[in-house]
């Protein structure tokens, strides 16, 4: 029995909350909190100091196949003994209006998106570690580490916590490495439902504003009383609690509605709101509503060690088609902070995965992890119709120097560090990352 059926059975025959609330005589007012006296600071907009005000990062968890994506198996690769001949069964398509960009079968549903926004591909990033967690942390943060006990912050977390954005950023799906940014943590939700319900805790109760205000005033007084009786050390702990709680009103007052309605379901081909793909329109709604200018959205299903092509193409197609819809929405939605611009003009889209797949198949007709990685960058200021980096006919990353491929060496390799640094420089020029991301930056991805 599906969980959906199970819940319907359990609900049947019981009073609904609405009936109960009707008994209680609660009115139909929506959620809102009063401006409460402990509001510490007014809601602040993120100040990046650049034309890019927002970043939407998609992380395809598991390691995607660049042969089906940004680095299709064509030309000499096709006749290579290293790449499985199965790739020749699948289409490669030119992105309309972008002479340099070709995509494999997996990304074909997104060609319209690539056509409509400045787009660059990065291929042949050298990924030394191919263990999922370590590689994910490296790709997220731009800092390579073999330590499982020390965590370095995602570059997006670093950008976000150095702006005035509150909440700093939004992570939809899997947790994002935070490192020392954990004191300014993201708003994290595993599903769109969870996010919406967190932001509207009293919505189901239709509780009057006055009652919410009374409750929160009492809560504040209780917390103050408790803190006053505690030791100095404990008071420090409670101060953290108090600081984060004091800003809740900013979120409640905005009355964010990130519910996925039927129109969105139809546009994004979603049947149920608990589907993983529902995270994509949720990310769009978060940007549209101004909840946070920085959003990370993770999507699973790319670690196809078995039946690679059947599973991987379907998964990647699912993402690509919805990326198309998302870009169309960004193109037609004004930026909440600047109505003269569309979100597509102020948002940088970054698509990454921790590494890519082996060019050959294993015994289970699947693929395994490979020491190369690739990505997609889209948005204003991106070097359009550009591919940076490449792989050779053996699928190994090549070096990159002066705009062309060269022998791989420590001086010429493209690393996630370089990409992270370039993005940080572009989005938040004032943030100095030379101490941990080094000096080399993949600036070519931007004009």
């Amino acid at each position: 029995m599906s969980r959906k059926k199970m819940h319907k059975q359990l609900i049947t025959g019981q009073s609904t909350r609405r009936q109960f609330l009707t008994q209680l005589g609660m009115g139909g007012a929506g959620l809102s909190c009063l401006n409460l006296p402990w509001l510490v600071a007014p809601f602040a907009k993120a100040n990046t100091g650049s034309d890019i005000k927002r970043v939407l990062q998609f992380f395809l968890v598991g390691g995607w196949d660049t042969g089906l994506a940004t680095d299709p198996v064509i030309g000499s690769k096709a006749s290579s003994q290293v790449y499985t001949s199965a790739y020749q069964n699948y289409e490669v398509r030119q992105v309309t209006g972008k002479s340099n960009l070709q995509v494999g079968q997996g990304l074909i549903p997104a060609v319209t998106a690539f056509s409509s926004m400045p787009t660059a591909f990065i291929n042949g990033m050298h990924m030394e570690v191919t263990a999922h967690e370590l590689a994910q942390n490296y790709m997220y943060s731009g800092i390579a580490s073999l330590s499982r006990s020390r965590e370095f912050p995602a570059f997006l977390a670093r950008i976000a916590t150095n702006t005035n954005a509150f909440p700093p950023f939004l992570a939809i799906g899997e947790p994002v490495p935070l490192g020392d940014t954990r004191n300014h943590p993201p708003l994290h939700a595993q599903s769109p439902n969870q996010l919406n319900e967190m932001l509207n805790p009293f919505d189901t109760g239709e509780v009057p504003e006055s009652v919410v205000g009374i409750a929160h005033d009492l809560l504040k007084r209780l917390d103050d009383n408790f803190k006053a009786t505690q030791s100095t050390n404990m008071q420090e702990n409670l101060q953290v609690w108090e600081n984060s709680a004091s800003r809740l009103s900013e979120l409640y007052n905005k009355e964010y509605n990130l519910a996925i309605d039927d129109a969105i379901k139809e546009r994004y081909q979603i049947t149920e709101v608990w589907e993983e793909y529902a995270r994509i329109p949720t990310a769009f709604l978060a940007l549209k509503s101004g909840l946070s200018p920085f959003v990370t959205c993770s999507l699973n299903g790319y670690d196809t060690h078995i039946n690679h092509f059947d599973n991987h193409i379907e998964t990647m197609n699912g993402f690509a088609s919805r990326l198309n819809t998302l870009v169309a929405d960004l193109n037609s939605t004004p930026d909440p902070d600047d109505q003269t611009k569309m979100l597509s003009e102020t948002t940088l889209i970054v698509v990454l995965s921790e590494f890519c797949r082996t060019p050959h198949l294993n015994a289970g007709q699947g693929t395994d992890h490979w020491q190369s990685a690739s990505g997609i960058i889209m948005g204003q200021g991106v070097a359009d119709n550009t591919i940076i980096g490449s792989t050779d006919d053996n699928a190994n990353p090549l070096g990159w120097s002066n705009g062309s491929s060269t022998q791989l060496a420590s001086e010429t390799e493209i690393l996630p560090d370089h990409l992270a640094k370039a993005i940080v420089k572009k989005v938040l020029p004032s943030l100095d990352t030379s101490s941990d991301l080094g000096e080399k930056s993949l600036d070519e991805i931007f004009t």
Partner: protein
Amino acid sequence: MAIKFRELSILFVLIISTGLSSCSFDKDDDSDDETAADSDQPSNTRNQSQSPENTESIIGGSGDRGLLLAPEQFSDMVEKSLEIRLGWTDHHGRFFDLVKQQLAVPLGGVDFLTSSTRNRLPKVQTHLIARRLAWEIAQVIVWREVDPNHPEPKQIFEHCDIVEDRPFRTSDANHSSDVQEQIRAGELRWETQLIEFYWRLLSRPPSQQEITMMKEAFLQVTGEYDGWNPPGWAVILYTILASSEFWYL
């Protein structure tokens, strides 16, 4: 597969067996409504030597710095203190705890990827989820006491009538002395119930200041509902469940 939180409030499984509903304190078996009505002081079923005024010695915190409740601990505490389980049971009879299954990661709890780097610092979503949970639980607790058609008998409002008993309002002085006496008696029962909740949830009695604060808030809330009392209790339970004292060990 995420489940609508809204629906889950209806799915809370109530612990039927009193054997499972043991509280972490000893109850005074002599405490009853008549005893409370005859006494000038609220019936404090705890150690009588601990004055409600002396909250500094009562209010605790684990160690010097305190620890934020883990999601599992929150779930366990709610289960034991309010006799309510948060979750659902599948057709195989397996119980899935809501907090552990759905909310552990955002609450800084254990998840399979980061169990070694468990972060208990309160986050924005800690409060968002905590308040959401607190409100849901408060609603359900009050609902099951009030709903005449509820399949389970009254669970934890043992000391007062959730609908009738309330603190004395200023305007009650206009009533006859008999009526005022009845209201006062109900107020004492109300206070006893409040003290019960404090023991259940915070392992201490409320201070006189807290009792006063709670009374004021209760009357303000019920005033918004034309004197209907249950919403007042929902707010009281909500504030205790969302308070830092509850969430810190």
